[in-house]
């Protein structure tokens, strides 16, 4: 599992966390998001669809590098930034 990742929560998801930051651990992005969902029920489905795909207007960056697949391994610790990508007016 490794050290916890500091997760930066975008405004659209703070109704779940009530905070701009959260802590979660996991070997992959999917694991980290699963732990977030255990802590904040419902948050995963708003970011990852039922087929396990990252939703169209959500982006994840770990230590500055974009994580494009939920199965991608994450180095222990560091920062995971969740971004609301442009979705139009």
């Amino acid at each position: 599992m490794g050290r916890a990742v500091k997760v930066h929560i975008p405004g659209a998801l703070r109704s779940y966390t009530e905070s701009a930051e959260a802590q979660a651990s996991g070997a992959t992005l999917a694991d980290v998001v699963a732990e977030l969902d255990r802590l904040y029920p419902g948050i995963r489905f708003r970011m990852i669809d039922e087929q396990g795909r990252i939703r169209r207007h959500i982006r994840f960056f770990h230590n500055g590098q974009q994580v494009r697949e939920p199965a991608q391994p994450l180095d222990a610790g560091g920062e995971l930034v969740i971004v609301q990508a442009l979705s139009g007016g």
Binding site: L13, S15, R46, D49, R55, H57, Q84, A85
Partner: protein, 389 residues
């Protein structure tokens, strides 16, 4: 999850409230006893796309909102205290996970909500885009795919792809439960036609005879059918009315053949539109809202002159009702869930426009007044009466 921003209390008893779902949030308008003055409560979920906001008629307390945002996936919010507080569904509608190697579908948004039969408290149905049918048995807290249609090869072919449907995705809508029999169900798909089950959803079959399709396409193929809104008459559940992409229709069961009743509409306005409203106590009466479906399909009021049309004889004739509505240069229309009736002795009619105006008539459409403007694009309007506290 969310608190009522205004703290306004719903008005119980005979007062009518309007549940208004828009592209950027939801609003609730509470009337006085005479339906003359309206008090606004909202916005709820500001910035969320709210496709449908529905009160459970069985308890008149449970309120469900179908929501998504520009960034986040779809969900259902639920309130049991008159919209003072909301909680998110534990398991929103979602398609089954596809087998390894297969490309599965994901729900983009829940479009339509229908409370279940009176004898099945807690049961709700939901229609989604991409087109899917879902059911909850716990008042909207958890949802599961319902019936075979979501993954049935033949139905999937009829549903087509996102590119085959309406601009923001094909929609499963008009889920209807026969008030005499919870196992008798109908639904419609904006790409895929009208379908019926008589066995509680174990099987569905198309119900398309008599419906026309766009010229050049094969009417025997469900995929080419585009029902816009189907309504069952509460006073005669054997009668359904339908506003379709290709006209206005009526179906009297046990017949399986739809009759095009829109040909009696004036040719200048035509018989194309989105909503269909039926009278709660008189199955010969219904209302429609025509739009311009000529040339490139502007989907605006014909000639910029909006009007409701009413029939009192099951579609044999139609009367234009436009007193109080703009007489020129009004280029909006009304979407399929955005027109409704209350059940007062003298029926109140209500519609919300694509330009964010909310209009009301206290006299069955004879006279109209604008009760709100400057709202976002209105997707749905429901007239309700809350339970006594």
């Amino acid at each position: 999850m969310s608190e009522n921003p205004s703290g306004a209390q719903p008005v119980a008893g005979h007062h009518v409230s309007l549940l208004v779902a828009t592209r950027k949030g939801a609003w609730i308008y509470h009337s006085d006893a005479g339906r003359q003055n309206w008090r606004v409560d909202g916005p709820h979920f500001l910035g969320h796309v709210i496709s449908h906001l529905v009160l459970d008629p069985r308890d008149r307390r449970t309120l469900l909102a179908a929501a998504k945002t520009g960034h986040l996936g779809p969900t259902i919010f639920r309130s049991t205290d008159g919209a003072r507080s909301w909680a998110e569904a534990a398991r929103p509608p979602a398609f089954a996970k596809a087998a390894d190697g297969a490309t599965g579908r994901s729900v983009d948004h829940t479009f339509w909500l229908t409370p279940g039969h009176a004898d099945e408290p807690g049961v709700w149905y939901a229609g989604t885009s991409p087109q899917g049918l879902f059911r909850s048995e716990d008042g909207g807290v958890s949802w599961a795919p319902f019936s075979h249609i979501n993954d049935d090869a033949r139905y999937r072919e009829w549903m087509g792809t996102v590119q085959d449907g309406t601009p923001d995705g094909p929609k499963l809508h008009s889920i209807i439960v026969d008030p005499r029999d919870p196992a008798h169900l109908y639904f419609a798909m904006s790409g895929g036609g009208v379908h019926e089950s008589v066995d509680g959803g174990r099987s569905f079959a198309p119900l398309l005879d008599g419906l026309e399709v766009v010229e050049g396409f094969d009417a025997s193929q469900p995929t080419f059918h585009d029902p816009h809104c189907v309504r069952l008459c509460p006073s005669n559940p054997d009668r359904l009315y339908q506003q379709n992409h290709c006209g206005i229709y009526r179906l009297d069961r046990p017949s399986t053949r739809w009759q095009r009743i829109g040909m009696a509409m004036p040719q200048a306005d035509g018989d194309i539109g989105f909503p269909m409203v039926v009278h709660p106590r008189d199955a010969d009466r219904a209302w429609v809202f025509p739009m311009d479906a000529t040339s490139v399909w502007p989907r605006t009021s014909p000639d910029g002159k909006p009007a409701v049309y009413a029939t009192r004889d099951a579609g044999a004739s139609w009367q234009r009702l436009d007193a109080g509505l703009p007489t020129e240069q009004a280029w909006w229309t009304v979407k399929r869930q955005a027109m409704t009736a209350d059940n007062r002795d003298e029926i109140g009619l209500y519609f919300g426009t694509t330009s964010g105006e909310l209009w009301a008539s206290r006299d069955e459409g004879a006279h109209w007044a604008c009760i709100a403007r400057h709202l976002p694009d209105i997707f749905a309007v429901e007239a309700v009466q809350w339970a006594e506290p």
